[in-house]
Symmetry: C2
């Protein structure tokens, strides 16, 4: 499988919050449940921008599929599209989730050695050392769960490792979270990482630690460990 650039926030222009200036007023004025009569003039006055700028924003939001538009004898009317409602519902459920310590089962598997390669890159290694105050063992433990591991970690505050460019190649940013791994009555603090450019999906996570987790915990491919996010 080829590495893909994961869009943690979705693609620009297809994310509701790129059109928040239009969508939030529409929600505030009842546009979830029916058509709101709204003109560039009134939107501009409400937003404190020009009538022309407001009209352009309404058109952009309609073109991006976030608002449905209809024309009646008394002017244009708008309401939120299902796409907008779905994205907003997703955001609001994120907003309502609390970071609860919860363990997830995940299976150990062998990667293709990329983890080691990336951890040896100065651009990443220095940041991990500074953020987590340890020298990472040069290799990652790959874990695969039956559900999204990223969803479990998302309510916890991430430490984002910056991407960089070196040797003519671009290395993407990495979401990282403090975690603990449990196996066979032992446990070890570690860091769960979700690279923006990755060949794996959200049900997979790479784990780094000061020592080799395979050696320390006695792990082999196929073993099932428990992983839990922890607050600082």
């Amino acid at each position: 499988m080829v590495a893909q650039n994961k869009m943690f926030l979705g693609n620009y222009g297809e994310r509701w919050f790129d059109f928040a200036d239009v969508l939030v007023p529409l929600v505030e004025f009842g546009g979830l449940h029916g058509y709101v009569r709204l003109s560039g003039s009134s939107l501009g006055s409400l937003l404190g921008i020009s009538q022309q700028a407001a009209a352009r924003r309404l058109i952009k939001a309609a073109e991006a599929g976030f608002v449905n538009k209809r024309q009646s004898v008394f002017g244009f009317e708008y309401m939120l599209s299902d796409k907008a409602k779905n994205q907003l519902s997703g955001f609001l459920s994120t907003f309502s989730k609390r970071p609860e310590p919860k363990r997830i089962d995940a299976k150990v598997f062998s990667g293709v050695g990329e983890g080691r390669f990336f951890l040896e890159l100065r651009g990443y290694r220095k940041q991990f050392e500074q953020i987590y105050d340890f020298k990472p063992y040069p290799g990652t433990l790959n874990l695969k769960a039956k559900q999204s591991v990223l969803d479990l970690f998302k309510p916890f505050p991430t430490k984002i490792v910056n991407g960089f460019r070196t040797g003519g190649r671009t290395y993407g940013l990495v979401l990282s979270y403090k975690a603990r791994i449990h196996y066979n009555g032992q446990n070890q603090e570690c860091v769960a990482v979700f690279p923006q450019i990755s060949r794996y999906g959200d049900e997979t996570v790479e784990v780094i630690a000061p020592t080799s987790l395979r050696k320390k915990l006695g792990l082999a491919d196929g073993d099932i460990v428990e992983l839990e996010p922890i607050l600082d």
Copy 2:
């Protein structure tokens, strides 16, 4: 009391959605519950804008009091401020409210004749006639409740009447909603209006109808009527 310009969406620069590009990513990355390590570089990469533009947005959001910022040995960290959390919670509760028909008690009182004056202005009259397909009786019935009438109407889709400028004076926009007024076993369809420029607060509403509501329903100052929003 002097007429005030009501900010239906709050003042520009003090509304969370003016900073949605920063606040939504912060929520998505756990910034409700702790500090997220976030740089202009990583935010820019996530938003598809330049590092410099992203850094400016973070600064603006911090200056406006929507994010708390701290510096550690490994870079800047941000989390949502209480102001941002409160505004977002308010939006979330608006989003979750459904338009349920519900009546509110309100007391009839005499205004200072402004309602008639405004309804006789062509800029408003033409719009009301087009939207609601009747010629409004030239005068409004003023009602005062013990709670916010606007909050009751807000989940219903509004028909916003545009503001305009004439004779060197600016007339603000008006939120209008279809409604029904009940009194003494009778009822009458009407339109509830909330002018942006008004001497009254949200617990007061002006009601317009094709005929004089005082005459048709036999109302006098001090009488208590019931008002309910209705869907089209």
